[in-house]
């Protein structure tokens, strides 16, 4: 089990969360808190970089949905970038690939 680390920073488009390590029921709350702590307003984009994400179970999925609910309530947008293949398959199986905006890279200039 790799410990979860979440690094917050800001980009011109909005807040950036870089999530690394394993996301499960023991630490999913951390991701929710990090998103709740991000300053969001209408028109901004929260970018969550999952490039270094390891294992992600249903609690992790729940946390991502909670993050999305928080972002949508603020009138902002959410983008998941560099989503690992296993999570991508899980999101596809659960139909969540239609809910989340998935991008391959986090070249922020693109936004």
């Amino acid at each position: 089990m790799k410990p979860l680390t979440i690094v917050s920073s800001r980009t011109p488009a909005g807040p950036l969360l870089e999530v690394a390590g394993d996301l499960d029921h023991s630490n999913a709350q951390q991701l929710r808190r990090a998103a709740a702590g991000a300053v969001l307003s209408a028109g901004l984009l929260l970018v969550v970089d999952l490039g270094e994400l390891g294992f992600c179970d249903s609690s992790g999925i729940t946390a991502l949905i909670a993050v999305r609910n928080h972002v949508v309530a603020a009138g902002a947008g959410l983008v998941l970038v560099a989503v690992p293949e296993t999570l991508r398959r899980l999101l596809s199986l659960t139909g969540l690939d239609q809910v989340f905006d998935l991008r391959d890279s986090h070249r922020l200039q693109a936004y």
């Binding site: 249903s58 609690s59 999925i61 729940t62 909670a66 609910n69 659960t94 139909g95 809910v99």
Partner: protein, 415 residues
């Protein structure tokens, strides 16, 4: 030789300075008489030859009553006397020494005095036993301490029994709740063979898987199987809401896509914002047409159903696009249909099966392995398929750490 003379207390160590000696003890005689423990010497028949004042004081007896008149065992309670005669005296004679034996003495005033007794056999120069020297320690404090220990131990035993009883009661309550989330038995339907199975990962945790199958009218039967996210009482509450919402929706209008939409709305209303809760589910309806079953089913983010054909093949029924139930108000669900002919079997399962860990590398069991397992057994009836999968789950051992539900629906092969 008189017993008293034979058992004289020792003389002062030569060379001990008198001033120092008198500071410590007035005399050896006084040390003997007023020692903080009881002393007595008895002849080999038990007759008391010498006894110190401390012990006489404890017993409330005078020297005249005791010396030459009583035997050591006369000073003991009935139980103590019995023990003395049967164990203490014979062992002492054999070993020459016996220490720390707990006995009870009778006092003149009535109360028993718990004591610890140590005896040594004194032998003459020819090796013949001459007399027995005995020290007696007041063990009242120690007895109180032992009783405290016993009481504490009894209290601990009772607490443990209570905890075990509480645990058993909780387990029973959980089992009743768990059963309420599943059908007691699947209905008997003419020309259809059904089988269900539920594997509980932990008896102390309510699982989050569910399934059901029930007739909605004379020709149609509804069924569903799913998995709520999470475990424990909150997951069970969600499971309960899910099961009864779906059941009511399907009895009202057996349309798989509409029914999942009803469930989606119910979950969205109940769980919102920061505490999203959702489930994956497959809901379906089948209807007899001749000797076949026409099956329509819809999936909400659930692993694809598997069909085992009479020809010995197996395939997944792809339901792509069906979304997790309870996440988005506008969730879309997709319907697929298939026809089950004699010898065909449809299998619904939860991801406890495909996400079990197998082998030394603890890799995921996965969809391909399940497909191969099914194909190797096709054609197979519902009961036999569920039995085979139950065996597979058992073989997973501790690689299976999630609840798993299985539901199979098939048309028996025509002979």
């Amino acid at each position: 030789m008189s017993p008293g003379a034979a058992d004289d207390p020792g003389v002062e160590t030569p060379g001990t300075r008198p001033a120092f000696s008198s500071l410590l003890e007035d005399s050896a005689e006084d040390l003997y008489e007023s020692a903080p423990c009881g002393y007595l010497s008895t002849l080999m028949d038990g007759t008391i030859a010498k006894i110190n004042a401390t012990l006489l004081g404890w017993l409330g007896l005078s020297r005249e009553e005791v010396v030459g008149r009583k035997r050591f065992s006369d000073l003991l309670t009935v139980g103590g006397r019995l023990y003395h005669e049967t164990h203490f005296a014979p062992l002492l004679r054999m070993q020459g020494h016996l220490g720390g034996v707990a006995l009870e003495m009778r006092t003149a005033a009535g109360p028993r005095l718990p004591v610890l007794v140590t005896s040594t056999l004194k032998r003459g120069s020819d090796g013949e036993p001459l007399l027995i020297r005995t020290t007696v320690f007041d063990a009242t404090d120690r007895r109180v301490y032992e009783q405290e220990l016993l009481r504490a131990r009894r209290a601990a035993d009772e607490a443990r029994e209570q905890a075990e009883a509480d645990r058993a009661q909780l387990r029973e309550a959980l089992a009743v709740l768990q059963r309420s989330l599943l059908p007691a038995a699947l209905p008997d339907l003419p020309g259809v063979e059904t089988a269900g199975y539920y594997h509980t990962a932990s008896p102390m945790e309510l699982g989050g898987d569910f399934y059901d199958l029930f007739p909605v009218d004379d020709t149609r039967t509804a069924f569903f199987l799913g998995d709520v996210c999470g475990k424990g009482p909150q997951a069970a509450a969600l499971t309960s809401l899910t099961r009864y919402t779906l059941r009511a929706a399907m009895i009202q209008d057996a349309d798989p896509v509409d029914d999942l939409s009803v469930l989606n709305r119910a979950l969205m209303e109940r769980y919102t914002g920061d505490d999203p809760r959702f489930c994956t589910a497959v809901a379906g309806v089948f209807e007899r047409a001749g000797d076949t079953l026409r099956v329509r089913l819809a999936s909400g983010g659930h692993p694809p159903a598997l069909v085992l054909r009479s020809g010995g093949t197996a395939e997944y029924l792809r339901t792509r696009g069906g979304m997790l139930v309870g996440v988005l108000p506008t969730a879309q669900f997709t319907e697929v249909s298939t026809v089950l002919r004699p010898g065909d079997t449809l299998l619904l399962y939860t991801d406890g099966l495909t996400e079990a860990r197998v082998g030394p590398g603890r890799r995921l069991y996965g969809y391909e392995a399940l497909l191969a397992f099914a194909a190797a057994r096709a054609p197979v009836g519902s009961r036999a398929l569920v039995d085979a999968l139950t065996g597979l789950l058992r073989d997973f051992g501790d690689g299976l750490d999630d609840d798993t539900a299985l539901l199979a629906i098939g048309v028996p092969a025509t002979p």
